[in-house]
């Protein structure tokens, strides 16, 4: 079987055991890897309804690559984290680029099937065909950047990591998993599934290479794809402006969420202020790329002055700019970059989910049942929360949040839970 390593790793965190499973060539051919293959394996494993609860140890977490992953071809960086979603209760899958998929292939596996739950925090080390669960007590509570630093210090710079931060540990239902620094599997709460299993991180490294049917054909194929990309308007836009290059184009088609989709339009200057072209002219300091990709759509930004200082590092993608910009009618790239940075580091979750949570808190005026990045907002009554949303970007509260301050300590007790049953007062 070409393209694949032909092996899956099954990990039972409850017993602390691992074992290799052969990858069925028929399934690999029929489902072509990734989330499709993961869904098939998931259903085969759990059987029919009732399905295990999303945060139940019996809910398998499946990490899956595809046949192209690990080869020197554009688009070969992706992997998927899949499980029943704690956010929706339905099938959940989060796709992520970066370098983890090639590292997992190099470590000797096409995918991981993780079941059970550890009694104390652990991380999974997969290296050159061997797997081991290690104690992660010293990492628990750390943010994803710190975790990545610590794991790379322990296993070398070639190690690739997928980790969770405080949001995943505390089972925030839409918590993301973060690969290395700034590559995010952001959708459907796979970070919370990792947290429910007390799986702090997965580390992959190795020197293996998946077999190729016609090795001599790989280089010409790559050159052909790269050549076609060079003439493609979409990839050129991605290269120049990143995914946020879609902001203005999307607005022309009514495909940008203004004020949480309540508005179909916004003033032209504000949209341009958030567009990738503006980012390129203002806060952009460099670009980055995923494995074997010639597009390099990743943004690196820095904000040196003003209320939202951002150290040089991974910048916001379109989703983050839309979440913290157009959804809230905030035409300020520095503010969105700062909020994005905060999400990356200590509160790893998809930005738009954070904003939706804020909206929901505003609408319901209630306190969240789970620890949450937006907890400071959710403890207010409806009127107060609506007020915060209007003045959010200029608010000291927002600045405290971006700065990592303890928000609750900054809020007078008298303002908390003023009217927990109030209905929405947003006009």
């Amino acid at each position: 079987m070409y393209g694949y390593t032909g092996k899956l790793l099954e990990v039972d965190l409850s017993t602390g055991t691992t074992r290799d499973l052969p990858l069925d060539p028929g399934l690999a051919r029929d489902y072509i890897g990734g989330s499709g293959l993961a869904a098939r394996l998931y259903l085969d494993r759990v059987g029919g309804a009732p399905y295990p609860a999303p945060l139940d140890p019996a809910n398998p977490l499946i990490v899956m690559t595809g046949p192209v992953a690990g080869h020197l071809l554009p688009g070969s960086s992706r992997f998927a984290l899949c499980a029943r979603s704690p956010q929706t209760g339905l099938w959940g899958e989060a796709s992520c680029g970066g370098f983890f998929a090639p590292a997992l292939k190099a470590a000797g596996y096409d995918g991981l099937i993780v079941t059970g739950a550890a009694s104390s925090p652990v991380y999974l080390l997969v290296e050159n065909g061997q797997a081991e669960l290690r104690d992660a007590a010293h990492l628990w509570g750390r943010d994803t950047y710190e975790t990545d630093d610590a794991l790379k210090a322990a296993h070398g710079a070639a190690a690739r990591t997928v980790s969770i931060g405080p949001a995943g540990e505390n089972l925030v239902c839409y918590a993301a998993a973060v690969h290395d620094k700034g590559h995010v599997a952001g959708r459907t709460g796979m970070g919370a599934v990792m947290g429910s299993k007390r799986l702090k991180a997965i580390v992959a490294l190795g020197k293996g290479k998946p077999p190729v049917a016609v090795p001599a054909g790989l280089k010409p194929l790559r050159e052909s794809v790269v050549s076609r990309q060079a003439d493609n308007l979409t990839t050129q836009t991605l290269k120049a402006y990143g995914t946020d290059g879609a902001m203005y184009v999307g607005s022309l088609m009514g495909d940008v969420p203004f004020r949480n989709w309540r508005n179909g339009e916004w003033d032209d200057d504000s949209i341009q202020a958030l567009d990738g072209a503006t980012m390129a002219e203002t806060i952009l300091t460099g670009t980055g790329t995923c494995h074997s990709c010639s597009v390099a759509c990743k943004r690196e930004v820095a904000v040196a002055d003003g209320p939202y200082i951002v150290a040089k590092g991974p910048g916001p993608e379109y989703e983050s700019v839309a979440a913290f910009g157009s959804l809230l009618l905030v035409p300020d790239l520095a503010a969105t970059a700062a909020a994005n940075d905060r999400c990356f580091e200590t509160r790893p979750h998809a930005g738009h989910q954070c904003v939706l949570h804020l909206r929901r808190s505003i609408a319901l005026g209630h306190k969240s049942q789970k620890p949450h990045a937006c907890e400071p907002f959710s403890v207010f009554g409806a009127r107060r929360s609506a007020s915060i949303a209007r003045v959010w970007p200029a608010s000291p509260l927002f600045r405290h949040w971006v700065a990592g301050a303890n928000m609750l300590s900054a809020v007078p007790t008298s303002r908390r839970n003023r009217n927990p049953t109030a209905k929405s007062r947003i006009q």
Partner: protein
């Protein structure tokens, strides 16, 4: 069946909306700043229109131009018609190859905000020419 019955009608309509942009202060300033020479190559019916932002005033040529383009944009006349009506899913059109471009693409993308006034103008142009049924 194509929207435009022949190249002359296509030049009359698409050429008019580009001429509107040529005379619009904001759009013409953006074109001049870009310095781009953009050639639109159409099919069904065949034709080409060149807008030359390297000159002052900006030059517009319906039909073959002797100016070497810095950007070539290729699409069907129907796609262009849908674009100016604001009915084209631009991302889908680009991804499916209904609209292709060669040249400094980022510079073209920067022109987009300048051309939006033409979206409102194009239906008026068609109506004024007695072609309201094409809207």
């Amino acid at each position: 069946m194509p929207v435009f019955k022949d190249s002359e009608q296509m030049y009359d309509c698409i050429g008019a909306v580009l001429d509107f942009l040529r005379q619009d202060p904001k759009a013409s300033a953006a074109f001049r700043k870009s310095g781009l020479v953009i050639r639109f190559k159409y099919s069904d019916p065949d034709g080409e229109i060149t807008i030359d932002g390297s000159q002052d005033p900006i030059a517009l040529t319906c039909g073959p131009a002797d100016r070497k383009p810095t950007v070539d944009m290729t699409m069907s006349a129907d796609t262009a018609h849908q674009f100016w009506l604001g009915k084209l899913n631009l991302v889908a059109a680009l991804n499916r190859g209904a609209m292709t471009a060669k040249g400094p693409i980022p510079a073209i993308m920067k022109l987009l905000p300048a051309i939006t006034p033409a979206y409102k103008q194009y239906p008026e142009i068609l109506r004024a020419k007695g072609l309201g049924h094409l809207i």
